[in-house]
Amino acid sequence: MNELEEARAQIATLDKEMAGLFVQRMQQVGKVISYKIAHGLPILDAGQEEKILARNLSYIQEPVLQEYYILFQRSVMDVSKAYQSRLMQGMKVAYCGIPGAFAHNAAKGLFPDAETLEFPDFESAYKACEEGGADVALLPIENSYAGDVGRVMDLSFAGSLFINRMAEVDVTQNLLAVPGATLGDIRKVVSHPQALAQCAGYIRDHRLEEMEYANTAMAAQYVAEMADKSVAAIASVETARLYGLEVLEAGINATHENTTRFAVFSKARNSASDAGADDHFILIFTVRNEAGALAKILNIIGAHGFNMSSLHSRPMTGQVWKHYFFAELEGDVHSPDGQDLLRQLSTVCDKLKMTGSYRSVSL
């Protein structure tokens, strides 16, 4: 070993020791925060910080290194504060809707201990996660009966988040009305367009007027506030409880295998450390404007034996007659075959984004 290699080897050894010390330090930080939570103390204690800094600086003799040590110590403190903040506030889950919406139920099911943050639309929930206001955003990506939730796909195409988890939530739609109303009173139904679509047969058979609302829970809230016996909401049973409505008729959606798939978006991409655990992945791509461009891509995917469970084509906002594709594939993208696939597609596609890798779960 020459001098350079020897120094690098020494650094590697020191890094290892520092990593061990880092873990120990963070464990102690965890104890401090438990104490602070128990005693109602704030995380930030500026006076304490300066005292620690001054004390630790006395361990360093070289003046030049002291400068850098201050920077080092400050960033250690920042890291520690970030960790404390996380422990104290818990995880934040952004979703679209209000309490009682299917998304809210899904959030509670997936992250029982987390704090749920409601947003009026998909976009603001997605943005909140991108900007750090939420750890994850939970958004519906597809409904087995009424099709895809295109707006969420558009956000995945334009945005920077990854999908590391996907959950299927069985959806049962119910007819909810104010107490005292009977089936015969109902003339109008209010709900999210997806829910209306899921119950289109029921609505037609009963000759009801439709009214769209941003989400099912908001529709229920509206019905409760209106206190009009001729107006009903289509929503979950939980929503009826939340807003004091009665279930006039349960399970009015056309198919009883009505599943909504929720994607868990987050800033960090799941690394391959537990490769083999994921059995699905999502690719978003655009193709070159030439004959056979899409066929070529499908040909490559087929050659690798990945089953494509869905392929959606969506118009690109602001660009007339231009489309992007949203494909879900079965298999492990972290496998050598998956990596080959990505490498080959990235040459052939105009744009390619591996947007998610996950193992599907049912709630």
Binding site: K296, A303, H304, D340, R343, S346, T347, V348
Partner: protein, 342 residues
Amino acid sequence: MNMTYNRELFHPQEIKQMYPVTPEGAASKAANDAEIRAVLDGSSDKLMLVIGPCSADREDAVMDYIARLRPVQEKVKDKIVIVPRIYTNKPRTTGAGYKGMLHQPDPIADPDLFKGLVAIRKLHLRALLETGFSCADEMLYPENHLFLSDILSYVAVGARSVENQQHRLVASGLDIPVGMKNPTGGDLSVMMNSIRAAQSSHSFIYRNWDVQSAGNLYAHAILRGYVDNHGTSHPNYHYEDLRDLADHYQESGLKNPACIVDCNHSNSGKQYLEQGRIAKEVLHSMRHCERVGALVKGLMIESYLEDGAQKSGECVYGKSITDPCLGWAKTERLIYELAELR
């Protein structure tokens, strides 16, 4: 047409973009190319050894083998230029059996040419980037050369292909040396005609293009022995054979007269352990006569990690699944012996 169109394949340009040669890799190849050309045009008196498995059946074992060649090459670099064989497509006598990594990237699974095309590029590329060797392959399907044209340093045209028009034409358009084997029947004039064709310029169709080749002045002879009318193997590496080839070259007026002796095939009668003796005998002939010494530029040896051969289902790591090869211990010893004798 009585065939099913399974799948459209990549264009060579696409696959080169997907699995590109790095600048370091390109530099290694350029250096190797220059060294090989110097051997063939006589400006270097090193011995060229085209050495490696009969067929590159699996990436791990082949990479293991080629990585072992690197330190050996460093030790003998003043005497010997090693060009590892990575033979990714194999002609078969009846067409049946293992056709090489191009057809079967997994030798015990069904053919998959889409994956095979990627697999052979990845293997050649790994060899170049990890060991600095730009290797040799057989040009069995001339249309496919373009998939590897930025990685290979040497190709051979086999005994069964050497009379084929397209092989000769494409050989005339390559920028790396092409070795033309004598046909299985042993007729040297067929081989000399092939070399002449390869050294000349031609217009022809290549991959749906009207092309004109420049002529390849580094096309040369490979003697691999022959089989007579009764199916008996006969060698053509003996002193008299080499003199005979020198005469052929003298009459021909071809550029860069050169011969590589293939120590296996009909020269050994596939008695793979004879390869060492044959190699040393050729070196002896070279010392014996200046004309022969000037003509013979190198040797081709079939060698792998394990001695002999196996059936393709046996899956012994580093043992040939086609013709029997010399194992690693014997190979390493032989290379040092050849360096001593040189």
